[in-house]
C-alpha cells in the first residue's frame, strides 16, 4: 500500500528559470517526511514534481529522475494521470469541489476511476471519511455541500477525497497554513494515523509542526533571490532539530537565518 519515492538529481524549471537544482532524496514508505525551508526555496515545486503536478503549469518542466519503487514516473509510456492516482495530493487552501455534496466530493476520484456501484461507493466514502477523522461530524449531512463545512473540516474532506482512491503516497503542500490551531492539531493527529498506511510527505513553514509530525526532515534553502533552491540536509527529524550536520540548517532552525 505504501511505496518508496526516490529522486535522482532532480531539477525543476519554470520556462528558463530554474527553481530547484539537483535534489537526490529518498522518502521511505510508511513514514512522514517534512520539507522545511524559507519561502522560495523550491520545496513546494519539488513536492509537485513528485506526482507530476509541476508540469500542469505552462512551460514548467523537470530534469532528472523520480522513482516510485524503482519505476520512473516520468518514463516513456507513463501517464501523468495514472501517476497522480497513485500519488495523491492535498493542497494549501482547502479546495473541495464547490457544487458537490460532501459525499460526491469524496466519491469524485472513485467515479473518475469508473466505480459507479452505489454499495461500493458508499463503503469507500464512509471508510475514507473515517480515515480522515471526519465521519462522525458529517455522517448526518453527507448530501450537504462540502463548502458548508469549516476550513479545518474542508481540509479533512480534501484528505478523505485524496485517500478514497487508495494512493500509495500522500503529498501535502502546507496543509495547515490556512487553518486555526485547533484544526491544525486535528490534521496533525490525522497525519500520525495515516502514516501507518501511507508514505507521507508534508511541506510546512511551521518548524514546530515538522518536529511534531515527521520522522525525517529535509531542509531546503537558496543562496539568494533568483537562485534555485537546493537540498541542504536530510536526516532523522530528531537529529535535524537537535544536532544538524550543516551550519545552515542550524542557523535556520535556531532562527539565525542568513
Amino acid at each position: 500500500m505504501a511505496k518508496r519515492i526516490e529522486t535522482v538529481d532532480l531539477s525543476c524549471y519554470y520556462g528558463s528559470m530554474q527553481a530547484v537544482e539537483g535534489v537526490s532524496l529518498t522518502v521511505e514508505p510508511k513514514s512522514v517526511t517534512a520539507f522545511i525551508g524559507p519561502s522560495g526555496c523550491g520545496k513546494s515545486t519539488f513536492l509537485r514534481a513528485l506526482n507530476r503536478m509541476h508540469e500542469v503549469i505552462p512551460n514548467a518542466r523537470i530534469e532528472g529522475t523520480v522513482l516510485l519503487d524503482d519505476e520512473d514516473i516520468y518514463g516513456p509510456g507513463i501517464e501523468a494521470a495514472a501517476v497522480r492516482r497513485t500519488i495523491g495530493m492535498v493542497f494549501q487552501k482547502p479546495n473541495p469541489f464547490p457544487t458537490m455534496s460532501i459525499y460526491d466530493n469524496v466519491a469524485a476520484g472513485l467515479k473518475l476511476n469508473g466505480i459507479r456501484k452505489k454499495s461500493e461507493l458508499d463503503g469507500a466514502v464512509e471508510r475514507s471519511l473515517r480515515g480522515a477523522n471526519l465521519w462522525d461530524e458529517v455522517k448526518s449531512r453527507l448530501n450537504k455541500p462540502g463548502m458548508g463545512l469549516s476550513g479545518g473540516q474542508q481540509q479533512r474532506l480534501c484528505i478523505a477525497r485524496a485517500i478514497a482512491v487508495e494512493p500509495q503516497v500522500l503529498l501535502m503542500d502546507e496543509p495547515c497554513s490556512a487553518l486555526d490551531p485547533i484544526s491544525t492539531l486535528a490534521i496533525e493527529d490525522l497525519i500520525n494515523e495515516l502514516k501507518d498506511r501511507y508514505t507521507i510527505v508534508i511541506v510546512t513553514h511551521n518548524m514546530q509542526q515538522a518536529a511534531r509530525v515527521s520522522d525525517v526532515t529535509a531542509f531546503f534553502t537558496l543562496k539568494g533571490p533568483g537562485e534555485p533552491g537546493r537540498l541542504i540536509e536530510v536526516d532523522a527529524t530528531q537529529k535535524i532539530f537537535t544536532n544538524p550536520s550543516e551550519k545552515r540548517t542550524e542557523d535556520y532552525i535556531t532562527g539565525r537565518f542568513g
Binding site: 506526482n51 503536478m53 500542469v56 505552462p58 494521470a81 495514472a82 497522480r84 492516482r85 497513485t86 495523491g88 495530493m89 493542497f91 487552501k93 479546495n95 473541495p96 469541489f97 464547490p98 457544487t99 458537490m100 469524485a108 476520484g109 473518475l112 476511476n113 455541500p145 463548502m147 458548508g148 480534501c158 477525497r161 485524496a162 482512491v165
Partner: protein
C-alpha cells in the same frame, strides 16, 4: 506658510460650492438612471396602445391564426417560426460556442487563445445585414447539397423530412435561417461561456488533476459543474438575440406563413422577418405592431429568466459558504 493654513481650514469646512456640485451631479445621474425606466415604459406603452385595437378588430383569433393578410391576421405561424428558428440556432450554437470557450480557456496556448478570443468577439461586431447577405448569396446555394443529405439520411427524424420528395434549388427555409442565426449568436455564447470558464478557481482544477483526472475529466469534474448557471444564462441571452433578429432572417427565410416542423421545406416565417418584409406595404400597421408587442414580451421574459438564473446561482454560492 499661511496659504497652507487656509487650505486646511477650507478642506475641513463643508464648502457650499462642492456640496452644490455634488447635488447637481447626483441629480444628473438620477435622471439618467430614471430615463432607462421611462424609455422601457414608453416603448411598452406605445406597443400596447397601437396593438390593442388591431387585436380587438381582428375577425379571427390573433393568437391562433396562421394567415397574415389585411382582412385576417394572426401570429400562430410567425410565432412558431420565431421559436423554431431560435431553438434550432441554439442547438447548433451552444455546443460550438461552449466548445470554442473550452478550447480557449482549457486547451489553447496563450497566444492562440488570445487571437481566437479576438476573432470570436469580432464576429459579434459584424452587422446583421452582412450576415443576411452572406447567407443569401453564399450560403443558400450551398445548402442544397446539405439539405439533400439530411433529408436522405435523417429524414426519419421528421425534422428533416422532405414530403414533396424534391427540395428547392434555392432553399429559403427555416433551416437556412437557423444556420445564419446560429452564427450570429455564437459569439455571445462563446464570449460569456469563456468568462464563466475563466472564473473557475485554478485550485479546483488542480484538485481534479491530483485525483488522476485527464484533461477532459478535469473539465467535467471541476470546470463544467460550477459553470452551469453561467452557460445557461449565456444560452438565454443568445436566445434573446435569436428571437429578435430581423434583417438577416428576413433575407434568408421563405416568408410563407405555415406551421410545419419540416425545416427543409421552403417557407416559414418569423415575427421580426414578417414585420420587416410587410411593413412598407401594410395599410394598417396595427397588426404588425401587435405582433411586435408579442415579440417584445417574449424577449423580455427570456432576458429576465437569464438574469434570474445568474442571480440564483450567485445566492446559492453565497449561502453555501
Amino acid at each position: 506658510m499661511a496659504s497652507i493654513t487656509t487650505a486646511d481650514t477650507a478642506s475641513l469646512r463643508s464648502s457650499s460650492r462642492s456640496a452644490r456640485g455634488d447635488a447637481v451631479f447626483r441629480t444628473l445621474t438620477f435622471i439618467a438612471g430614471a430615463f432607462v425606466f421611462v424609455l422601457l415604459g414608453a416603448i411598452a406603452l406605445f406597443l400596447v396602445i397601437k396593438a390593442m385595437p388591431a387585436i380587438k378588430n381582428d375577425p379571427t383569433n390573433f393568437f391562433t391564426t396562421t394567415q397574415w393578410s389585411s382582412s385576417a391576421y394572426g401570429i400562430a405561424a410567425t410565432l412558431f417560426g420565431t421559436a423554431l428558428t431560435a431553438v434550432l440556432a441554439l442547438a447548433i450554437a451552444v455546443p460550438v460556442g461552449v466548445g470554442v470557450a473550452l478550447y480557449i480557456t482549457q486547451y489553447a496556448p496563450r497566444r492562440i487563445a488570445t487571437l481566437l478570443g479576438y476573432v470570436t468577439d469580432m464576429l459579434a461586431a459584424v452587422p446583421s445585414v452582412v450576415y443576411g447577405l452572406w447567407g443569401l448569396i453564399f450560403l443558400l446555394p450551398r445548402m442544397v447539397g446539405i439539405d439533400h443529405f439530411l433529408a436522405k439520411y435523417f429524414g426519419w427524424t421528421g425534422l428533416f423530412h422532405d414530403p414533396a420528395g424534391g427540395l428547392n434549388t434555392f432553399p429559403k427555409t427555416i433551416f437556412s435561417a437557423s444556420i445564419v442565426l446560429s452564427i450570429m449568436v455564437l459569439p455571445i455564447i462563446a464570449a460569456i461561456s469563456r468568462e464563466v470558464f475563466r472564473q473557475v478557481d485554478p485550485v479546483q482544477k488542480e484538485a481534479a488533476l491530483a485525483l488522476g483526472a485527464t484533461r477532459w475529466e478535469m473539465i467535467r469534474t471541476a470546470v463544467l459543474p460550477p459553470s452551469r448557471a453561467g452557460v445557461i444564462s449565456a444560452t438565454m441571452l443568445g436566445l434573446g438575440r435569436a428571437l429578435g433578429e430581423t434583417i438577416a432572417v428576413a433575407l434568408v427565410i421563405g416568408n410563407v406563413n405555415r406551421v410545419s416542423g419540416h425545416v427543409l421545406v421552403p417557407g416559414g416565417n418569423t415575427i421580426a422577418a414578417n414585420i420587416a418584409n410587410t411593413f412598407g406595404e401594410a395599410a394598417d400597421k396595427g397588426p404588425l405592431i401587435a405582433s411586435g408587442l408579442v415579440l417584445f414580451v417574449l424577449t423580455l421574459v427570456v432576458n429576465l429568466a437569464a438574469r434570474y438564473v445568474i442571480l440564483r446561482a450567485g445566492t446559492e454560492e453565497r449561502s453555501a459558504v
